[in-house]
């Protein structure tokens, strides 16, 4: 789960990670008030107006602007920014509509650094990464100058040790007494926040050193581990439904794994690996004919008939879907449950596009019987490849008409 910068900073503040002063704003008027307040508190009129969307690269896209002239200028910037479609390298070409802002005090910056904590799945540890190349895409730094990234791995039984923080600090040129102590404290509290808040990513880019010598988290990005939701009831308040695909939200509420894609074949599959492989095989046979998956949908192993019905309805309702491929290898999932769900959804909404079904595994005979007797126009497929080829042919034919 992704959260906004200002929400991440609220978490930082709770743990004592130093951040600039700032206030969220939903309107231009609120932005003006926030700027005024910051001016009073800091004695400087300089504020930064930052668009709050769940994507990085906001600065380049025009989502981060400095108002040197104080509150009136901040208001004017906010008016322009609110409602704009912010396009960054992470949003896709259509961009993301800006609905929230964060107004923050301007800092006198001497250096921009990078600090991030992630799960290193190959080492099975939390890894802290730091780099002198802050404020730019860290992926680019990793690809082009990997030696500029320092990494330490945290032993979960011990936590982040002082010497590890110091190693990063010396590497970043923060070895002087004052900065060393504040950096060690910052990384220690960041690790504590990472573990206690069940983060899967905690990134500060840039981490800045001010001309006064303070080390401050100028940006904050936190991804939360969805699996830990059960022990974080407070996460519900952090959700921003405007930032999510409405279909994906509906799927999540129904206990389904759904990801929207750009293609034209709706897929209903059980199991994440098989669902990915189904997308791959559609692209394999259909790539040259403009046929591609419209979605990733894993109904899981233990879905009941209502969930299957719901899932199939979501596909039927999608206007971009020109054909549907149901690919099931029943283990725990019984083929008759799938068949009943598909038939119920198709009866309710009508089946206007070709439907190819491949059923295998537990209760397969019963499942096939239900489909055969439903009266629906279903093309049965004997294997995954057979099904993929049939669905590709169905879309190609439809397109030629």
């Amino acid at each position: 789960m992704k959260i906004h910068e200002y929400q991440a900073k609220q978490i930082f503040a709770r743990y004592g990670v130093p951040i600039p002063r700032g206030y969220p704003a939903l309107t231009a008027a609120e932005a003006e008030t926030a700027a005024k307040k910051l001016g009073d508190e800091t004695g400087s009129p300089v504020v930064v107006v930052k668009a709050q969307i769940h994507a990085g690269g906001r600065g380049k896209g025009g989502g981060v602007k400095v108002a040197k002239g104080g509150a009136a200028e901040a208001r004017a910037l906010a008016e322009k920014m609110l409602g704009m479609q912010l396009v960054t390298h992470q949003t896709g070409p259509e961009g993301q509509k800006v609905r929230r802002l964060y107004v923050e005090q301007g800092l006198d910056i001497a250096r921009e650094l990078y600090l991030g904590a992630v799960i290193d799945r190959d080492r099975r540890r939390v890894a802290f990464m730091a780099s002198t190349e802050g404020g730019v895409e860290i992926e680019k730094v990793a690809a082009e100058t990997p030696d500029k990234i320092l990494t330490v791995h945290v032993d979960p039984a011990v936590g982040l040790s002082g010497y590890q923080s110091r190693e990063l600090a010396f590497g970043l040129g923060l070895g002087k007494k004052e900065t060393l102590a504040s950096f060690v404290k910052l990384t220690t509290t960041l690790y504590e926040a990472f573990v206690r808040e069940d983060c899967s990513l905690c990134e500060v880019n840039p981490l800045v050193v001010t001309r006064a010598g303070d080390v401050v988290a100028l940006d904050a990005k936190i991804n939360l581990d969805d699996s830990a939701e059960f022990r974080h009831p407070e996460w519900r308040a952090l959700e921003d439904k405007d930032e999510e695909d409405p279909v994906e939200l509906e799927a999540k509420a129904a206990g389904l794994n759904y990801v929207s894609l750009d293609g034209n074949v709706g897929c209903l599959v059980n199991g994440a690996g098989l669902a990915m492989a189904t997308m791959d095989i559609i692209k394999h046979f259909g790539g040259g004919h403009g046929v591609a998956p419209a979605n990733f949908l894993d109904v899981g192993g233990g879905a009941n008939q209502e969930q299957v019905t719901k899932a199939f309805k979501m596909i039927l309702r999608s206007p971009k879907v020109k054909a549907i491929f149901v690919n099931i290898f029943g283990g725990i999932m019984k083929c008759d449950v799938i068949a009943n769900g598909v038939v119920a959804a198709a009866r309710e909404l009508g089946l206007k596009v070709p439907l190819v079904v491949r059923l295998e595994g537990t209760n397969v005979e019963l499942g096939r019987k239900i489909l055969n007797e439903s009266g629906l126009a279903i093309q049965a497929a004997s294997t995954m490849a057979d099904g993929a080829q049939k669905v590709v042919a169905a879309v190609s034919k439809g397109g030629a008409r």
């Binding site: 799945r121 994440a272 690996g273 990915m276 995954m384």
Partner: protein, 298 residues
């Protein structure tokens, strides 16, 4: 022969009185697996299905029944704790089926596992389990896979995905090719055995003549597997990598299946495996055919 599980495996099911645990414990018994005990704290003294004794703790179950493998169906909030309890009771093989365990919990489990010096092995979490196909007395199914699609034989299957494992097994069995042991290592970012651990076992098992390896996007486990295949294996390995068409940054059902920062792409993994001498199936429908071709050529 087989790896890890067989006729001497005695299974304790943790969470046997829950709906998933109960359902699959029954399926395992029907397959012929020696399910000798169940554990549900507070339910000690009961009998599952009128025959399998239920204990309050794993330690008790081991002491009373000699269980040497555990299958965990405990829901996510208590699953990591259940794994640790099994380790501490000296269970040699711990299989965790549970999906959705927080990563920070698994980091701790992993740390403990590394300190055990090989006394226990962990398969999973978020996996279908392990099966050595065969009739009662020789076969052993621990987990949630449909037993009837399997056939005893000489191909080892190792996979990060559940249903894709069934797909591969289904293809093998349809061709009359049996399996020595099939292991689902799970789709989570932090877990127990990885591809290399399993490949090592398959390589040294005289009854495994070829291997199907099913990977997916995310992480570097397939690349490490490729290195091992290149350096240490002389048995044919056919592979498939799911997620060629997955968009970067999106979680494809499995928490582990995220391509981060251009790393862990299907293309990189396929390249590494091809270079190692393994053959990568062009589509998921060709997994068994690819291996059959390699084994026929040998």
């Amino acid at each position: 022969m087989s790896v890890l599980v067989g006729k001497d495996t005695r299974v304790v099911v943790q969470g046997i009185t829950g709906s998933a645990g109960g359902f699959h414990a029954k399926q395992m018994l029907e397959y012929g697996t020696a399910v000798v005990a169940g554990v549900t704290p507070g339910r000690g003294g009961e009998r599952f299905e009128g025959r399998v004794p239920v204990f309050d703790t794993v330690a008790q179950s081991v002491r009373e029944t000699g269980a040497n493998a555990s299958c965990i169906f405990v829901p996510p909030p208590g699953a990591a704790d259940a794994i640790l309890e099994a380790f501490d009771s000296g269970v040699a093989l711990v299989i965790c089926i549970t999906e959705g365990i927080p990563v920070t919990d698994m980091l701790k489990v992993r740390r403990v596992l590394e300190g055990l010096g090989g006394k226990s092995r962990l398969i999973g979490p978020n996996c279908p389990g392990i099966i050595t196909p065969g009739p009662p007395g020789t076969g052993c199914k621990i987990g949630i896979m449909p037993g009837h699609i399997h056939k005893a034989g000489h191909v080892g299957v190792v996979s990060r995905s559940g249903t894709l494992t069934y797909e591969a097994v289904g293809q093998l069995t349809a061709r009359g090719i049996g399996q020595s042991t099939c292991i689902g290592i799970g789709g989570d970012p932090v877990g127990g055995m990885d591809f290399v651990d399993v490949l090592q076992l398959f390589q040294s098992d005289p009854d495994t003549h070829g291997v199907i390896l099913i990977g997916e996007i995310g992480g570097g486990a397939e690349e490490r597997a490729a290195r091992f295949i290149h350096e240490k294996m002389n048995k044919p390995v056919a592979a498939f990598i799911a997620g060629t068409t997955a968009p970067p940054g999106k979680r494809m059902g499995h928490a582990g299946a995220i391509i981060a920062g251009g790393k862990g792409t299907a293309a990189e993994k396929i390249r590494a495996l091809e270079a190692s001498g393994a053959k990568v199936a062009p589509t998921p429908s060709d997994m068994a055919a690819t291996l059959a071709q390699m084994m026929g050529a040998k």
